[in-house]
Amino acid sequence: MKWMPFILKHLRRNWIRTGSTAAAIAVCIFLFCTLQTFVASLHGALTQGVVRLVTRNSVSRFVSLPNAYEERIGTVPGVERVAAANYFGGMRDVNNPDSEFTNFAIEAESFLAMYPEYMLTDAEEKAFLGDQHGCIIGRALAEQFHWKAGDTLQLTSNIYRTGKPFDFVISAIYQTDQVRYPGTDDAILFFHHKYLDEATGRRAGVRTFYVEIADARQAGVISHAIDDLFENSEAETHTETEAQYSANVGVLSGNLVFLLNGIGLAVMFCILLVTANTMSMAVRERHTEIGVLKTLGFSGRLVLWLVLAEGALLGVFGAAMGLLLGRFLIGILPDLPVVGDLVRLFPRMNVPPAIAAAGMIIGMSLGLVAGLFPSVFAYRTRITELLRRA
């Protein structure tokens, strides 16, 4: 620790260079943390809900299945519950497609029973179930539109054209527990599938059946059993785990993760070169001083360590800046145009501690690797050579 003030003084020597190098590392760590947080959120989406299956039309998720399938799916051994759910595509302003937000028509009782993530009190649930025009919304949505329980609203679907808007009463605001159920979306509106079905003259059908199963290990067997039920029918089904379904819906396949990681690595490598170059310049400018230090009795190893420590410290500064930037930007990403639409697929995105720690380690490693060549130069170059360059 006694060397820390000495190292810090050298870092403060040229504020612009130190600042710009730290900023370069910060950008790198920011990108790493943001991309990895995104990937982690995706992974979270993929790994949650293993006890839930999703059955859809095998042709496309945009083609409905008959309502009657629900009862038959319920007869498959291992199936606990079935709930219909249709993406509604409701917009607050029919002339403004940007006013669309996430809203689903659900078979409320069974859906809420299989989704403990969306928490209501008994009274709230009763109120919701008892009102066909009732809906529940997440807290984020309530805050975004300043809605509260009891408010009425109208939505026009861009999928189900009925010629008039759908009327809703907000029955309750559901709560989420991000500790028990990380990543739970609190920006969704749920309303009764029965309302949709009746409003569309029973033509809405069911886009997806959510199927709760008793044993996650039986997911494959049950999926096949459900699909076998409807084989060779007019509407064959495709059943998969909810995680697989989310991955497909989100378009975020493994290739995208690979691409994101690839971009991160490329950026990291570029920043490494820039930082290494800057560090080399900084050390070469100080060759006389390094010669003096070695003359005074600083061993080559100590000088090497000091230069490496300087690099590592620079990396840590940069990483800390990057993390702060990442936390800030991830916080505002959902509100940004275009990007926000994608980010909102992964609610409550935040930099997990493991990724933050990895970011710090990568930042420090970047500094260390960047400092490696100049430190070896300082270590190996003879004193007379260092002093002669003056």
Partner: protein, 233 residues
């Protein structure tokens, strides 16, 4: 053999048949040839000679920052040439004080910080280091400039700080490479006065490389180098 050891023990510096050859662009260039030198303890010696005569190289060999191609260098009884790099660095930190022509202070450190630098390698506490640095600065008459940075000091003052840095570890020997070469006449005189005082009052052995006959006249003796050969040896 016994007699030789006794002589070595009494000598501040003893060079025996020292040769130094550099290799540049595939060619071997002899810089010092068969140098024999004996400097008693407490001596103030000036090494003189034209540019390229090998003065600084000889000084570097005595100070242990370079190694001879052949021959031996004994400083206060230590065979410098036999030490490993690590041991040599440690030996330098304890036994040799350096004064450079261009002071070579670390610009990001204050005068006290610069003087404290060699003590960073010792087990002394921060407080002890600071006390010793201030003592050294007092000796060179710059205690009131302890918190000044090199850019806030004149050339003469910078060289005084450099001298304080050289003596702070209480080394056996001080080596100075053109210590007045970058100073005006008045400052040069002050620095030479200081070096004489260090030699006289503290018994420091001083080896000074200089071009300046006036500076050399302050030394007890002068040695002349010409094309790598010590004249009159």
């Amino acid at each position: 053999m016994l007699e030789g050891n006794v002589v070595a023990a009494q000598a501040a510096v003893q060079l025996n048949d020292v040769c130094k050859t550099y290799k540049r662009d595939g060619q071997y260039i002899p810089v010092l040839e068969h140098i024999g030198l004996f400097i008693p303890q407490g001596e103030f010696i000036a090494l003189m000679g034209p540019s390229g005569s090998g003065k600084t190289t000889l000084l570097n060999l005595i100070a242990g920052i370079d190694r001879p191609t052949s021959g031996s260098v004994l400083v206060h009884g230590t065979e410098v040439t036999a030490l490993s790099e690590g041991a040599l660095a440690k030996w330098r930190s304890r036994s040799v004080g350096f004064i450079f022509q261009f002071y070579n202070l670390i610009p990001v450190l204050t005068a006290a910080g610069n003087v404290e630098l060699p003590l960073m390698l010792s087990p002394l506490s921060k407080k002890q280091r600071r006390e010793r640095a201030l003592t050294a600065l007092r000796i060179v008459g710059l205690a009131d400039r302890a918190e000044h940075y090199p850019r806030q000091l004149s050339g003469g003052q910078e060289q005084r700080v450099a001298i304080a840095r050289a003596i702070v570890t209480d080394p056996h020997i001080l080596v100075a490479d053109e210590p007045t070469g970058d100073l005006d006449a008045k400052s040069a005189e002050e620095i030479l006065d200081l070096m004489q005082a260090l030699n006289r009052e503290f018994g420091k052995t001083i080896v000074m490389v200089t071009h300046d006959p006036r500076a050399a006249s302050r030394a007890h003796s002068q040695k002349h180098l010409e094309k790598g050969v010590l004249l009159g040896a």
